[in-house]
Chain length 146, copies 2
DNA sequence: GAAAATTTTGAGAATGATTATCAATATCTA
DNA sequence: TAGATATTGATAATCATTCTCAAAATTTTC
């Protein structure tokens, strides 16, 4: 797993550093979406002194490398999550437009996946895009905000 | 059409003002997604002096009222578009992760719509959310950025 | 229709997330 | 090991968005 990533880093002319490893570890442990600040705090809890700028830089890098997905829940900050913890856990998000809470769902993803693959192929061809990922967001009000 | 909106404004204890009308007009004319700044500039071109804060306030209000949809293309700013120019024109977006360009697509939306409705119902029940809208984003690299 | 109540607006200050700068370190390569 | 390249940290800078508050506009009430 790590060897594969290392290759991926090399391909981007980037190096696998302790700091980057620590960030990846955090996402593997938490297995949920985290904001830059949350990552920063979790790193400090582990007694790893990493500057905020470095956190941002690396979240950006890891996203560009396809290791993380960047999410936006409309709360003014970006969130990140592991792109592929496991193909079986593929999921999307339900976002409360009042409190900003975001819930993962993975209902019907099998069916969804088939459909989206077909769509992705069609769109990639038609608009000359090399599509790398997708996100579906459902917006509404959660129980507490109604 | 306007009468209906007026009712909608009353329901929210809000007033239909010239400024709000002007913003709605812009979206009807342009028929595409616009950032707050773009709306601001378009208003000035029409010789309507509207403060930036007011533009933001109203874009927010119109979004909450369901008249506009808020979009995020990962370029650090929010974008807005008419929620329903016409049901037939329902569409989603293809976003280039390098240059930020966003293309509308409406391929397979019929089929998509049916599927999403079913999913929406299921999710709303399971997670106790009153779902109001959804967005699908495909991310990748456009022709020019590859 | 005039006064009172409520909402909206504008200008600029404030906020807060993210990015840029740049010198010091760390890592890789020849 | 030397030289080249990439990374980091601290802090300043940026930029979209929100807040503040007094003035203006609109609606409601009498």
């Amino acid at each position: 797993m790590k060897a594969e990533w290392k290759k991926q880093f090399n391909r981007f002319n980037k190096r696998m550093t302790p700091c980057r490893q620590a960030i990846i570890d955090i996402f593997e442990e938490k297995r949920k979406h985290l904001s830059a600040e949350e990552v920063y705090i979790l790193l400090r809890k582990k007694r790893r002194k990493v500057g905020m700028a470095t956190v941002y830089r690396n979240l950006d890098l890891l996203s560009q490398m396809g290791l993380l997905h960047r999410l936006n829940f409309g709360d003014g900050k970006e969130h990140y999550e592991m792109a592929r913890i496991s193909p079986a856990k593929h999921h999307h998000h339900l976002v409360c437009t009042r409190c900003g809470k975001a819930v993962d769902y993975s209902e019907l993803v099998g069916e969804e996946h088939e459909f989206l693959n077909r769509l992705e192929k069609k769109l990639g061809d038609k608009y000359d895009f090399s599509i790398q990922s997708h996100q579906i967001y459902f917006y509404g009000l959660c129980k507490d905000c109604r």
